[in-house]
Symmetry: C2
Subunit: 229 residues, 2 copies
DNA sequence: CGTACCGTTGAGGTGAGTCAAAGTAAGTGG
DNA sequence: CCACTTACTTTGACTCACCTCAACGGTACG
């Protein structure tokens, strides 16, 4: 049937991929360079950073195991809009343009799948929430913790939440559109209030539900006020 | 050839579309409602607003004549992430899901075209620049003027720039992640400095190149400082 | 055991938010 | 066409979260 990915096509897709290993700090692709294919992170964490039109360097997306990256510029047929930097030792597999293009052209089904990935990309929305909203940094930081929890093997028992941050304070600052000093101060506040405990990159949240509630309640508070009540 | 849009397919696509007219203030689609198809603005302006996870209402995209909208949620097969509100009397044509789905499944070529549209969507990036960056509101406002100029029939003679803002001050505030009062103050500043003149919704920029230069120079200034010079 | 980065702390400044109140434009209905 | 309602805009005084700057402590690594 037209539009379906044949077994042969799938086989080609799988065979053509190339695996690489990157060390902490390595760039996997670079802003303004040509997009040569699709990247899929198999293990480790990658941070997408970009220098915007104003020359500010910001981070806008953290990529974890199992996630695709580089697809936006690839399908737009434009240079990469960001630089992908490995935060840890990272295994990445790469699908070259020639193969992907051929399969997309042959198969509406595969193209449809990519359409979904692209359309569901939460990156821009998250970035806006983390950096754009006018909520206090403290709330945005807690929200980031919740997002990170979902992409980390958080050891959760009895509402407890414990995981390793894959990010430095500077990276968190870049993600939140803030300065590293402010991150330090927020972390101190959260510890003083007993909301979370930090040892280097290890975070422990005694009551994870409480954290979520705090984030949401502040949101609710805001929206009530916006409604004029 | 597999993947090509047949004449019959194109015909179907064109015939199935439905035209509607909306008045200022009408919603064309609504956040959290199901995405039923693709919308294309033929004339007029539409603002995409959304209530984020924190309950803040923000605007993140202005749609002008000839632009598609609603495609992200449509292809993601998720509820609309925003509400589309007509800012002026607006002609919109609508392509129902059944037709689009069928053509995408049949044609890798058409799907590829949608992939490009989706991947090139500047909305999220612009929104981040306008709302997310830590630049002074004044600079972000000027940047917005430059973006608006591109989507308006700006009557440009001898470096002069003159057009109607399709947005209220409140809408501009929502787009920039600021308060209406702050917009008023920025506008006053720009008038005092002779950079732009506002009469209601009419903007006149005596020296458009100067405006662009001001925006860029501030960016450059910032990045120099970031580089430690 | 330096060198270099990352992280922390404190003091001080400010851009933009908040609040409140008055002015203006834009519809609506008689 | 005018009164009336409603929404948008402007102004000024005040406040504060976060930035900036500068200096110091910690930790990794050759």
């Amino acid at each position: 049937m037209a539009g379906e990915l044949t077994a042969a096509g799938f086989d080609l897709f799988e065979r053509a991929r190339k695996r690489s290993i990157y060390r902490r700090g390595d760039s996997i692709f670079t802003q303004d360079k040509k997009a040569r294919g699709l990247y899929c992170v198999q293990s480790g964490y990658v941070l997408l950073r970009r220098v915007d039109a104003f020359g500010n360097e910001t981070a806008f997306r953290l990529i974890g195991p199992g996630e695709l990256m580089g697809y936006r510029s690839f399908f737009a047929d434009e240079p990469h809009a960001s630089t992908a930097q490995a935060l840890t030792r990272t295994h990445v597999c790469f699908h070259p343009k020639t193969v992907v293009d051929r399969l997309v052209a042959d198969s509406g089904q595969l193209a449809g799948r990519f359409l979904r990935v692209l359309a569901r990309d939460p990156g821009p929305a998250d970035a806006l929430l983390l950096r754009g909203s006018k909520l206090p940094l403290r709330i945005r930081f807690m929200f980031m913790l919740l997002l990170l929890k979902e992409r980390t093997n958080s050891v959760g028992v009895d509402g407890n939440m414990n995981f390793q941050l894959p990010l430095t304070r500077q990276d968190m600052a870049a993600l939140l559109g803030a300065r590293p000093e402010s991150i330090t101060r927020v972390i101190r506040e959260l510890e003083e209030d007993g909301i979370a405990i930090f040892h280097g990159r290890e975070v422990t949240v005694p009551d994870a539900e409480n954290l979520a509630a705090l984030v949401k309640s502040d949101g609710a508070f805001r929206s009530l006020r916006a409604a004029g009540e």
